[in-house]
Assembly symmetry: C2
Homo-oligomer: 399 residues x 2
């Protein structure tokens, strides 16, 4: 099979293949130009007759769960990246696949990290055909050098949800590593030693995958509350000694920048937003987790506090700064896609106004609207921007 | 079209039709004997391109929303019954349908109530072909007398979710009356003048209907938190002056029985459960809202308090008694399908341990398990029971 075929020029003027890994893809037609006409992916109908009446779906180990889930050549296996560089489960999945002699898997993570660099050996020996998902570090380098057997496909968070919802990517087995779960499969990210805040990146996987395996090191009696993942979508539950490395899942601290030029960028950005009338009582904003973006949030905070205003919501990647604002009453809600520090996790556990979101609510373009277009101010950090406002975060020039 | 056809004897020994309102139905084969083989219903894929970027989906009135949703002859229109006998919206829907000359609708409520008795005129004139859903009061009488043009179909709460999930009933337009909503369509039942607690009976409708209309008398700025109904499933939002009559939605008070023989039944039931070893530290139970069942809950409470035990969860229909137990620390969670009094609503709004559930989590037999089989003790009130434990709540004998 060719990695890709049938190049055409898309609406952005770029040559792109319409056949990728043997499957048809639709080239970009321009913003809002592609109107889908089909129906969503329809998962198999399950029956309680095939699940234990006492709700106990636990199995002895991940290998047994993968075998029961029917792991075989060519399947699509999904994972999420809420554990970031502290994930301990993805490597185990493919060790087991290799041990069982399974070949040609598509790994469909929401993102991959350096802690999974060991999987290059399975990309080399054909256990894994390709990764479809963000690749950070050595796996990205491996793909960039053209060494992957299949073609890597990167999707945005919303694009990943959309691809699953629409059946463009059909997940055979989803393995959802969870900081806390009950034997029925209800799971969350706020409790347990590997608490990571939420599990929103795994929502599509739980809803649409044929088989869903929840792996945790913190089994609680039914019900696991909040149930960010519904056990009613889950086939098997596996208890392991350690599901992730807490110190690598979230950074203990988040620092604003001390660089004078970055602080100046932040101050000017906040001042621009203010003078442009973008900041008002009840406004909303999204700010990234980088040092400069954090500083901008602090300037927003000062403006709100001085004028006795209140932001309606902050879209986050949360950390201690939005949490302080929530607890000081300067913002009513944090709508959070991932928690970046321990304070973010604590706040999501404790504050009803700190709400977990998912790519479905926030970014899925094939929904009846989403949150992305409803935010008053979005601050995006970029390492390079051109005069037409094209931006990226993969190159860097200081000139 | 014949109301029903092709009678066969089902596994319970009853003659049942396999053709109902022109559609095939599968006769009961015995508990756990029918294993579905198909796929779930697949709703149309939407696109953000067709929804307002600012998230404001409000329309002037319900008529405009129904017209935009494409209301026409023969459609299936769904409503929920969280407002019980205080609902003000269902009547308006069919007044509009009648005014527009639409005929042959299937009304698919999760239940209908005496406040909707006026709809008999639309059953008579053919605006509504039939009701599929529980019928309480005059509508039930009308159907029982054989006057409905189509055949009435009653489903359990779980059976209703299952029928929608599996595509046996395809909802064209769902109208979700909500005590609180934002312009994007996020909605909940805990806030607003018509607060009813939760909206779980409308979950399937929001997920699977072609068009979803949220109607509320309490519009809040985005985001409406908690979002028991996701705006990402919603097409239109309509603001009305009054969505329901609070005094008929929930009773202000809940009373335990004062009847000596019923109190004795309650005491003996609790004593039986205790001596049979069904009550223990961490046990779970479900109790109905009737006076006798409430009394049993109070006996359970006394046992827990005396022995310094804690129930893990109570399945409810909640009212002030389970809420008192939650707030006293005698139970860790209330898993609640509908709130029966003001204390239930308040508690669901305030207590993180008072969790809203849905027929999906609790009763859908075509899921990967459900909660119904996981409860240690269930107390069901019945007006008549035979020596083979068949029971019903529609006949009554005191002999």
């Amino acid at each position: 099979m060719k990695k890709y075929d049938n190049l055409v020029k898309n609406a952005a003027g770029r040559e792109v293949p319409t056949i990728v890994n043997g499957e048809e893809h639709i080239p970009f037609k321009g913003v809002g130009k592609h109107i889908p006409t089909g129906r969503k992916h329809a998962p198999y109908i399950a029956s309680c007759a095939n699940y234990p009446a006492d709700g106990n779906k636990t199995l002895a180990n991940l290998k047994e769960a993968l075998i029961k889930a029917g792991l075989k050549d060519g399947m699509t296996i999904s994972t999420h990246h809420h554990f970031r560089n502290g994930d301990l489960i993805a490597n185990q999945i493919f060790d087991i696949a290799h041990e069982l002699g399974v070949k040609g898997l598509r790994w469909y993570p929401s993102a991959s990290f350096p802690c999974q660099a060991g999987l290059t050996k399975y990309l080399e020996d054909g256990t894994i055909n390709r990764i479809e998902g963000s690749m950070n570090g050595p796996l990205g380098k491996f793909a960039s050098e053209g060494k992957m057997q299949g073609l890597g496909v990167l999707r945005s968070h919303g694009g990943r949800y959309q691809a699953v919802q629409d059946g463009e990517v059909q997940i055979d087995i989803s393995v959802i590593a969870a900081p806390s779960a009950d034997p029925f499969g209800n799971a969350n990210g706020v409790d347990g030693p590997a608490a990571c805040g939420l599990l929103g990146f795994a929502l599509a996987d739980s809803q649409y995958a044929d088989k869903v395996i929840v792996v945790t090191d913190n089994i609680v009696p039914f019900p696991c509350i909040p149930w960010q993942i519904h056990g009613n979508y889950v086939d098997y539950v596996v208890k392991v000694d350690k599901v992730g490395l807490p110190e690598k899942i979230i950074s203990g601290t988040t620092r604003i920048t001390k660089s004078p030029d970055r602080l100046l960028i932040a101050e000017l950005t906040a001042q621009f937003c203010d003078e442009a009338g973008l900041i008002f009582d009840g406004f909303s904003y999204q700010a990234g987790a980088g040092g400069t973006a954090l500083s901008i949030g602090n300037y927003f905070r000062d403006i709100l506090r001085d004028r006795k205003w209140k932001a309606r919501f902050i879209r986050a990647g949360s950390n201690k700064y939005p949490v302080e604002m929530l607890e000081e009453g300067l913002v009513e809600y944090i709508l959070d896609g991932q928690t970046f520090d321990l304070e973010g996790v604590r706040s999501m556990r404790e504050n009803p106004g700190h709400v977990n979101t998912s790519p479905f609510t926030s970014y899925n373009y094939h929904g009846k609207g989403n949150f992305a277009s409803m935010i008053d101010v979005v601050v995006l950090g970029a390492t390079e921007v051109d005069v037409n406002f094209n931006a990226n975060v993969v190159t860097h020039s200081d000139g």
